[in-house]
Assembly symmetry: C2
Homo-oligomer: 340 residues x 2
């Protein structure tokens, strides 16, 4: 039995040295690629965003034009900060991105279709290791590294935006699943045969609990109820979750009910998520997560009412601790440190 | 920088040697502790059960009496096989057992209450490392090591018995969660405000899809429907899922509908489980899992109808490949190899 292959030690040590040296580069690039804007951040090891550059995602007819421009902008950002050759990795959070393949696959919110080789395009052009993941996973990694989930090994990140996204962390690791697409909690069934979802299914959590879902609830409530409400002064076609929030903060009863309704559905869903992975906390990210007790109270009540006894009173429910403008870049940057 | 501490090499090699030697003991004990019977198996590295011993779980007034007898039986089993000092670890699958603490906590199906220090009792008495987990997790480990999930890094094990249990494997690791109780998928909500569950909640998956749930559906169908059925010849108070299976196999239409109903609820739930962890497969264990297409077909149809497009046609649905009588012991034994 070869307990310890001494002959191979020097090769091993040299390899180790290389690995350590590549880890010693003091910066990473964190790229938040969205349907509208793409932001590149140069980030140091403490999670400080040193400088950023932004570009419009939709200004490019072909995906290759987009990646060419992204590489030019990234190169310029590093160059201006005297950080060429000092960036150890690039992390990218992008819609419908696949961690295993580094590709974006059939993203409905992007102008290019099919399977887009995002990671490969950047790593080849810039000669820096690139890791890609979807935006909600990037947010989860950001939260774990710099935010409300620091030190946690088991938590669930829920992102409340146009849709509902999620990043699940188990044993300190993001759950990617067999194909890289795990964590689509926005498309679990909240109400059987409920609202039509963009994914083709009915009753998905995101049809009720996203910002869009809240607006949809507002329109429904205004149609089916007769009470007076501040929301009646607005054009139903343009009501946003922010309008509902502002009306609720002014004491509008119907708007408060909309948040109660939203929170109850979310809390019931969260109880089932807890039964899956028994997380220490559920972290909420996005504009709605800032609604405070208006949303958190009904979520917590419905979650507690639906938890198994062993979890009652034990699952933390916390808003993200990262600035909205920085979270996605920081999350992607945290992923960049793991790029290889 | 100490890239490689050569001075410490000999200590390191010696430690490594010790670790390897302790791993070289050729047997483990796998213990399947149930509410009625407890089976101890002496298992070799190939997963062959060399010999077994069984005892009645409920014959002991105090938990200490039970563990004393368990240790005596285990010692005798090892002694008879000339395997004293050749057992490297003990794995135990037990109801409501906690992997982190090695305790059983408030198990409704056992005669002793409170928090029971199972792992500690055995490891102290036998001087062998012990690892404890709940029965469904043990089944998942068994399936991963010896059964239908060999080579899979991401799958979900669903055990269909008196209740519905689950063991979730992500990245090749069992998901224990923050507190050791993860994977209670039998208590996710299948039907909002549905059947009363023993856990205190309503509409839990196990109230519909366990063997007991199937019997409950049979009684409901017999009460609310008027068709003739072979089941009408039986006493409704004693109908079992096996009765329903046998009637269905004889072509009884109502019994087939009961399986359709059960499978549909299970399939819809499975689609949500897939959205969580994107497993390669869902493995079904227990008597009901042997019902073949009678149950598998409606499960598959309902699951496919509720999956996001990216998963349609891609998630395997397979019955356990382990003999029912051996699975629990083999699962516990596989855990024993990891005991430390």
């Amino acid at each position: 039995m070869h307990l310890f292959p001494f002959a191979k030690l020097s090769i091993f040590a040299a390899t180790l040295n290389l690995i350590i040296m590549s880890q010693c580069k003091p910066y990473v690039l964190g790229i938040d690629m969205g349907g509208t804007n793409t932001v590149i951040g140069l980030v140091d090891a403490r999670g400080k965003i040193v400088s950023t550059a932004a570009m419009k995602t939709r200004d490019y007819a072909e995906f290759e034009d987009f990646t060419d421009a992204l590489c030019r902008n990234a190169h310029q950002l590093m160059s201006e900060a005297d950080a060429l050759d000092m960036v150890g990795g690039i992390g990218i959070g992008a819609p419908n991105a696949n961690y295993y393949s580094g590709t974006i696959e059939e993203a409905p919110n992007l102008p290019w279709h099919g399977i887009l080789p995002l990671g490969e395009a950047l790593s080849q052009a810039l000669d820096i290791p690139v890791t890609v993941t979807n935006d909600a996973n990037a947010a989860a990694i950001g939260e774990m590294t710099y935010g409300a989930a620091r030190g946690m090994r088991d938590f669930i990140m829920i992102t409340l935006g146009t849709g509902v996204g999620s990043g699940i962390v188990v044993n300190g690791q993001l759950v990617y699943g067999n194909d890289g697409f795990a964590g689509e909690l926005g498309h679990t069934c909240a109400i059987r045969d409920g609202r039509q979802c963009g994914c083709g299914k009915k009753g998905c959590l995101e049809t009720y609990c996203s910002a869009t879902g809240v607006a949809r609830t507002a329109v429904e409530f205004l149609q089916t109820r007769s009470e007076d409400s501040l929301l009646r002064k607005l054009d139903p076609d343009t009501i946003t979750s922010k309008d509902v929030y502002e009306a609720a903060m002014k004491g509008d009863a119907l708007s408060r009910e909309i948040f109660d309704f939203t929170g109850r559905i979310m809390g019931m869903a969260f109880a089932d998520f807890v039964a899956f992975s028994a997380p220490e906390a559920i972290v909420l990210f996005g504009g709605l997560a800032q609604a405070g007790d208006l949303l958190m109270k009904p979520i917590r009540e419905a979650m507690e009412a639906n938890l198994l006894p062993c979890w009652k009173g034990k699952i933390k429910l916390v808003p993200s601790a990262l600035k909205a403008s920085e979270a996605a870049v920081l999350g992607a940057a945290a992923l960049g440190w793991k790029a290889k």
